[in-house]
């Protein structure tokens, strides 16, 4: 619980950083991680994709994204997976 609250605080700070510097892919990566940590997986996906659009060659970013996709595929309800949702990008691919 304490950790979750800490991540909420981190999320807030990353949001502030994104407002101050909206073209920085590293901030969106951090936002995505904080969203994952607070259980906002759709948002996390959105931020990862945004970050990758800005910096498709960043190794850490691509690593985070592929690990997230792997987790999210197994976590999503079956009907969403069957529906083809938004995590169909393979590891290493740019979304």
């Amino acid at each position: 619980m304490a950790r979750r609250q800490l991540w909420s605080e981190a999320l807030f700070r990353f949001q502030q950083a994104a407002k101050a510097d909206p073209s920085n892919p590293r901030v969106y990566n951090n936002l995505a991680v904080a969203c994952e940590a607070t259980g906002q997986f759709e948002k996390a996906l959105e931020y990862y994709r945004k970050a990758l659009q800005m910096d498709p060659d960043n190794r850490d970013l691509r690593g985070n994204y592929s690990r997230f996709v792997e987790f999210y595929q197994s976590f999503k309800p079956p009907e969403e997976v069957a529906g083809g949702a938004s995590t169909d990008t393979a590891e290493g691919e740019t979304p």
Binding site: R3, L6, W7, E9, A10, R13, F14, Q16, A17, A20, D21, N24, R26, V27, N29, N30, V33, E36, A37, G39, D60, L61, G63, N64, R67, F68, F71, S74, F75, P78
Partner: protein, 236 residues
């Protein structure tokens, strides 16, 4: 000005994460953090509220005579599973009493859809658990080589020593059936091995050590668990 603000925000954040113990080894410009993520139950429990635990078939019951003490493997396991399922899941657990199986071949049982459908209907169970148990006690006593330093000349020597050891191996084949259609939804093996010093180790204790070590994997079928994952955060 903008860069100054951003730098300050990320620096504060990095300090917050590190001091809070969220961070792992540090590299220039990035830090690895550990997240706790939910892991969905392996079975889809949507609309399923009750489960019947039928007696497991016993393939090997070595514990029955181990150490002069009788252990009813089947009864102990059924009691254990019922207790754990009641404690850890939201499912209503139904005890069906004695069940007359059409066959004692576990593979064949998996194809007896009509039988499982009738059981599900009779017990009003959305899910039915069945399977087989194989409990094996192994005498692993033997000679091992060990080194010792001589107090007289300070040199290292090797000697053979007799080590009495008992191994307990538990192999559970678990099957879960749909109570409405009788279809086999899930089948998997859960295996564990524990080893104890001494020839007369208690088979009941060995069996429960096996079960405790398998508990998370068994429950992972029915309840959401948490897993740890690592991600990279940028700090500059």
């Amino acid at each position: 000005m903008r860069h100054h603000r951003r730098g300050r925000a990320t620096a504060i954040l990095a300090v917050t994460l590190v001091t809070a113990g969220l961070a792992l080894p540090f590299e220039a410009g990035s830090v690895d953090v550990r997240l706790t993520l939910p892991q969905r139950a392996r079975l889809d429990l949507t609309g399923r509220n009750s489960i019947a635990i039928t007696p497991f078939l016993v393939v090997s019951r070595e514990g029955d005579s181990g150490g002069g003490r009788t252990v009813d493997i089947q009864k102990e396991f059924d009691r254990y599973l019922t207790k754990v399922m009641r404690r850890e899941t939201e499912l209503k657990v139904i005890e069906p009493g004695p069940v007359e199986f059409p066959t004692y071949d576990i593979d064949q049982l998996g194809r007896e859809k009509d039988f499982w459908r009738v059981i599900g209907e009779r017990l009003q169970a959305d899910l039915i658990v069945c399977g087989s148990l194989d409990f094996d006690i192994q005498d692993r006593t033997g000679y091992r080589t060990e080194s010792y330093v001589s107090p007289f000349d300070g040199r290292t020597y090797y000697r053979q020593v007799l080590v009495e050891q008992t191994g307990f191996e538990y192999d559970i084949l678990m099957q879960v059936y749909d109570g409405e259609s009788g279809e086999l939804l899930f089948a998997d093996n859960f295996k564990d091995f524990q080893s104890y010093e001494g020839e007369e180790a208690d088979p009941l204790q060995g069996m429960f050590e096996n079960l405790y070590s398998l508990e998370d994997r068994i429950l992972g079928l029915f309840v959401q668990k948490e897993v740890e994952a690592s991600r990279t955060l940028f700090t500059d």
